[in-house]
Amino acid sequence: MAQWQGRLFLTPTILILLLLTIFPFLFTLAMAFGKVSFEGGALKITLIGIKNWGRLVYDARFWNALVVTLKIVSLSVFCEYLLGLLLAMLLNRRIKGRTFFRVTFLLPMMLAPIAVGYMWRMMLNDTRGPFNDFLRRLGFGTVGWLSDPNVAMYSIVLTDIWQWTPFMILILLAGLQGIPRDYIEAAKVDGASGWKVFIYVIFPLLAPASIAAIFLRSVEAFKIIDIIYIMTGGGPGLVTESLTLYGYSVGLRAFDLAYGATISFSLFFVVLFSSVLFFFLTRKARRISLE
């Protein structure tokens, strides 16, 4: 078969892919630089330059949402990685009931975020939730898990950690199982302690899995909306309002489509920039692991 014939067969797939990915992308981009109106039975986008972006720069609520998002992402992904690594190391050992624990630890990841949000909202309820009931029985005061502006964001992070640590376990466990036992045995024969084996052998060899897990989880965490929407609606005040939730409120609740698109695109740029920075910072680790 000639090369051009092969390409011809691929063309429909490429066209469909372009239509499904590039078109919505460009459409949203056009909205972010335009004003949306409905005229004569059609959605009309009038380009207005960078007016929406100028509004974004002076929008205190946008900057607040950006900071909230960055805090949630960094805190939750950091904790998820540490916990995930610890549990993956435990599950990698020959312990009794290993299969049971492996399956149990993965369960939260399989739940819909909406269900997780409702479950934690009930558990963290100020007057009727089991958490505060437990604290009361121990003689402590109650905590406004979702109603105290100083605590609410950590409750969201806690919920995210509960749901997504299993994802880290899954990838890191696969990474750990891919490390040849010979390397570890050789290090032990040379007299390395358990800690040194971890630091100088296991951790570097786990770098590709770690980088993949942190990257994938971070990209997902940047888009957090469902858990927040159910648990706090972005409140109290705006302390848990993420960029996605803000974009949703503006675009779909207030129906300000153009500015909603601008906020969505700003999130895209934030994720893109963070990804590039992450890969830049981890380039050395990737190189070492390859060597």
Binding site: D126, G233, G235, P236, G237, L238, V239, S249, L252, F255
Partner: protein, 493 residues
């Protein structure tokens, strides 16, 4: 043999007759599409009455639903992009200006005039004359009557021992029901944090929706209306009807927001994160002495299987204030009696028809069937329909309410509170202008900041006023002013 021929002929004629003249059913072969939110609430009456209508008319009803957040975008895009996916749309009355103003909805005046079944005069005037009209024409039929009313625990407020203690502490008799927000504040403080119903657990003063991205702004306007709405002076609640200048940061609104923030000290813990659904269960669980809500707390309290307060709830119109901000004079006006201004928060659900629907007549016929006095009475007295009374006849017949689970006294006082609200001379309709959702969204964020203590009442409302000005400029001041005046029933040029 002759008998057989005659019978055969008669059967033949009958079959031919059916074939030629049809079954006599008016909308045979017609399928109308109804779009609203998923059942049970709001969609349930459509499911209840569609089979009967289909049997009577031969038509078919196809119900399509979408979650609350997707209703507006899907309706708007169906109209604006010419898709015309739905014949009937059932939506909150506040969206009517957006849809009717853009010419998306069919005027219904002629249908209504020719339809005795709809019993138009039986619908309370505020709904038939204001809520469903735009520019002097009727564009929808009310199917639900929504307004905020005030709830209180009779066993607490009417307890002689507590009344004596209250008077001793505050220097005036405990008013039942309270008629000013100042009295509400004192009562909430008095009943906060101790076991006044003897169940071994502490109760609290009040429960009101404060959750961001929910319905808090309706509670705010319920509290603000009495401070800013002078009888006979339209427009004090939202904008100056002469200039479209926002009045949201007037001293009256600021005072209302200060109350809104202060009363949280006497509220059920975690109230800042509670939506309307949660405050209903909290009140029905017996945790609060007072509440503000639509008719739903009444239903849940009197009918709910797990209600701890059945027969213990009192109902009243929203309290007000003896000092009211006069935006025209720029000063506080003093009243001898409290100025109460009940608020038609949300305004209820209405049913309208896409102007481009090929089945206008069938669509109207189904709406008329759904909203007829008999069927609407069944809707408002059936659990989980989400529909509240809006016809004179809904208030006159207690049998349905008692069958619903209300006690006779509870039914009477509950209906009286709603009727007094709707028929009040100073009743305030909700904001009904294009882009209403944008104005409310901007307010919602600032209310959340003020409630969380991140901004003062004045700072928050100043920010709202600024945002409202920007929205008005973006949408066109002249158009918005015209729409606002229309919504208030004021003349436009």
């Amino acid at each position: 043999m002759r008998k057989l021929v005659v019978v055969t002929l008669l059967v033949g004629i009958a079959v031919l007759g059916v074939g030629v003249f049809g079954t006599g059913r008016k909308f045979e072969g017609v399928t109308i599409t109804v779009f609203t939110q998923p059942p049970p609430f709001i969609a349930k009456p459509v499911q209840m009455f569609a089979p009967d209508w289909e049997r009577m008319t031969g038509g078919k009803v196809k119900l399509i639903t979408a979650p609350w957040a997707e209703l507006y975008p899907k309706m708007y895009s169906s109209f604006a992009l010419g898709a015309h996916l739905y014949d009937i749309v059932i939506f909150p009355a506040a969206w009517l200006p957006d849809f009717a103003g853009a010419g998306f909805l069919a005027p219904l005046d002629d249908f209504i005039a020719a339809d005795p079944r709809i019993a138009w005069e039986d619908i309370l005037p505020v709904y038939r004359e204001r809520i469903v009209t735009w520019g002097g024409k009727v564009f929808a039929v009310p199917v639900d009557g929504d307004c905020h009313i005030f709830y209180y625990r009779k066993d607490a407020l009417e307890n002689p021992e507590y009344q004596a203690k209250f008077e001793e502490k505050y220097g005036y008799p405990l008013p039942v029901p309270p008629r000013t927000w100042k009295e509400v504040r004192d009562i909430a403080e008095f009943f906060n944090g101790w076991d006044w119903d003897g169940d071994g657990r502490p109760e609290y003063g009040v429960v009101e929706a404060r959750r961001k991205d929910d319905q808090a702004y309706w509670t705010f306007f319920s509290r603000a209306a009495g401070y800013v709405s002078i009888p006979g002076q339209p427009g004090g609640l939202f904008f100056d009807p002469e200039t479209m200048e926002p009045l949201i940061n007037s001293p009256g609104h600021v005072k209302a927001l200060e109350d809104y923030i202060e009363i949280m000290k006497f509220g059920v813990p975690g109230m800042i994160n509670m939506d309307s659904g949660e405050i209903r269960t909290v009140f029905a669980a017996g945790e609060a002495a007072m509440a503000i809500d639509w008719g739903d707390i009444g239903v849940l309290s009197e009918v709910g299987e797990e209600s701890m307060v059945k027969g213990k709830v009192g109902y009243a119109i929203l309290p007000g204030s003896t000092t009211v901000w006069d935006y025209k004079k720029g000063e506080w006006a003093k009243f001898d009696e409290p100025n109460q201004a009940p608020y038609l928060a949300f305004g209820g659900w209405v049913a309208a028809i896409d102007v481009k629907s090929p089945y206008l007549e069938a669509a109207y016929d189904f709406i008329s069937f759904l909203a007829s006095p008999e069927n609407s009475y069944r809707s408002v007295t059936t659990p989980e329909t989400g529909f509240n009374p809006y016809r004179v006849s809904h208030f006159e017949r207690l049998s349905g309410w008692i069958g619903f689970g209300f006690g006779p006294k509870a039914a009477e006082t509950y209906l009286k509170a709603i009727q007094d609200t709707i028929a009040h001379p100073n009743v305030q309709p909700d904001l009904r202008i294009p882009g209403g959702a944008r104005y409310f969204e901007a307010l919602d964020a600032e209310l959340a900041l003020a409630a969380a203590g991140a901004k003062s009442a004045q700072e928050a409302l100043d920010a709202v006023a600024k945002a409202w000005e920007r929205i008005t400029e973006e949408l066109g001041r002249e158009n918005q002013l015209k729409a606002y005046r229309l919504s208030l029933g004021l003349p436009v040029e």
